[in-house]
Amino acid sequence: MTGAQLENILKKHDYQKSSLLAILQDVQALDNYLPRKTLEAMSQRLQVPLTQIYYLATFYRAFSLTPRGDHLVTVCTGTACHVKGAATILNTLERELAVQPGETTSDKKYTLETVNCLGSCALAPLVVLDGHYHGRMVGTKVLSLLKGDKKDASKKS
């Protein structure tokens, strides 16, 4: 994020401290994470302690303080997906990618995350790969998905 980009976002929100959450959302949307430098600049410009920004950034699930990988794999662990076997899917992915939820593989290719319900419970259990929903998942299907197996027609959402 450049200084000008940050300035634009701040301006859009009228430099209001009460819009901090929305400002962070805009930064996250642009960079896919919250870079430390940007947060420091934000703290300066808005005259808000960095601790307060950090407090917000770590409280809400929507934010990440580390850069994400090229691909985002999200496993729904909502209740409907859980009773239909989301834990097995998540275990498979953790094993295969050798990361825990919230982490990024060392080659920066994949970030693994979990989410609580995507409103597509009828397709449970659900995995989202880069915004494409893949429903009625099983362990073997999720592996072929990672391998880019084209047989699993992807559904954009």
Partner: protein, 615 residues
Amino acid sequence: MPLKSPDELEQLRTKILEERKAQGEKKGIVLCTGTGCRGAGASEVFDAFKKALGKKSAIEFKSTCCHGFCERGPITIVEPLGIFYQGVTPADVPQIIAETVTKGQVIEKLLYRDPATGQTIPTEKAIPFYTKQNRLVFGNNRHLDPTRIEDYMAMGGYKALVKALFHMSPEEVIEEIKRSGLRGRGGGGFPAGRKWESCRKAHGDIKYVICNCDEGDPGAYMDRSLMEGNPHSVLEGMLIGAYAIGSSEGYVYVRNEYPLAVENVGIAIEQATKMGLLGKDILGSGFDFSLVINKGGGAFVAGESSALMASIEGYVAEPRAKHIHMTESGLWERPTNLNNVETWANVPVIIEKGADWYASIGTQGSKGTKIFSLVGKINNTGLIEVPMGMTLREIVYDIGGGIPGGKRFKAVQTGGPSGGCIPESLLDLPVDFDELTKAGSMMGSGGMIVMDESTCMVDVAKYFMHFLKDESCGKCTSCRDGTLRMYEVLDAITKGKGKEGDIEFLEEIGWMTAEASLCALGGSAANPVLSTIRYFRDEYEAHISAKRCPAGVCTELITFTIDPKACIACGKCRKGCPTEAITGEKKVPHKIVQAKCIKCGTCREVCPSDAVKVA
């Protein structure tokens, strides 16, 4: 041009209706592109229809949001016959246009087949999933393109607003809502009319109304579907509420994970503002009201009223003690009235049809209908709307079509992380606020997760405690540490490390967490644990004493074996096993080397002859 009077609104409505009448009974296609159907590929179907129809104006093509029957998505309805097609793919599109739309011929393979009778059912109306419902609030989704205010107008939209603004005093509106018996649909079930009244009576010139669309309950998505599918009904409800309360500013707080809801309510606000239904001097009544959208940051506790307001103010969403009600001192310390999406959407219905009519639906203490998300181990997954007081049995078996795969029903979980599990012995329980609470669960926002014999109830309790320990904001020690301790004990039990006295210990911390916590997150955190202990104590005991998981879920307590008689020695499991724990050759029944097995379940998944057994 903004409309300046009720007459102008009616003239516009008449114009829309006449235009539609002049076009006659148009042949039309309705495609659901709600989140559920999109997940199943509705976007591709949408593109295929657009491409195939081109600019052929003789066929009206409408994309709506959720109809509820998500299990069967993508759903397409061909009008005027009302032919219901399920599981539609882009490849089916040319045939639908050529045969059904043009010639009125039905395509058998796309019809819904009743699993009970094996018969196909051509129209939506005749499908058992729909017949038992009463879709007072949710039903309009099916007829509306949520991005077109004209569609809402054509269905009588904003009539209730006119009635309230021009024919009722604010007090009369409040009285009407009170008499209707409407209770909040967001969880607590607080009478809406009473909340409005105390906010109206509170001191202060500036008052706020807020719509809670945070919907943090994992497994519930009715608020989202209403917001995505019929945002104007929520706006109309909020306008009426604001008029009654004496508020001119409102907020819609939407969960971060719901981009389509944010988009559709944004479009709705823009259109309503253009038409003069939001803004200054609405329809010449002298009443002003404007709305702002706030996106949440993805925290369950942010759905709690005081936490939500802190979040709007730009702070971390932590609840505060409510010695003073939000209706007296809420957002920016001003009187604030917060209601849930579904609560707001009920308001225009009540004002238009009258409190008496509304109160005739439902039970003594719970009036009207409720939308539930019926999910989990159930044949007809989706959103349903039923009158309060319908029994669980009717919901699960008549509407839900029972449990898939011939499995046995075990429990329904209601009320989300604050609720509990209801066992088979209570299937005839009439579902309303009070009965669910008596059974040790709660209505919550309306999640209903069906569980069968292969669901482990200790694992379910652990699942919710994992959720709650993560989502507890950490302000109260009792909640932060209580949920964590309960999780640790449950985790140990599911790993075969449970010991005598664990159940009593859970009951004790559960009680303490509930008693000592500030907000309802901690206050109800023990419900999933206490209700499963209450109804499924034997399962806890099996885990603790016999180190056995009867449902075959808890990996540390189960073993995978291959039944040599059933094994056809195809080698699929051997190839699939990630730890090379399976031995065997062609024509020799395979075996699992237990020391290497990590119980990932791959062998069971790939086995074509069901030879992998779990015990």
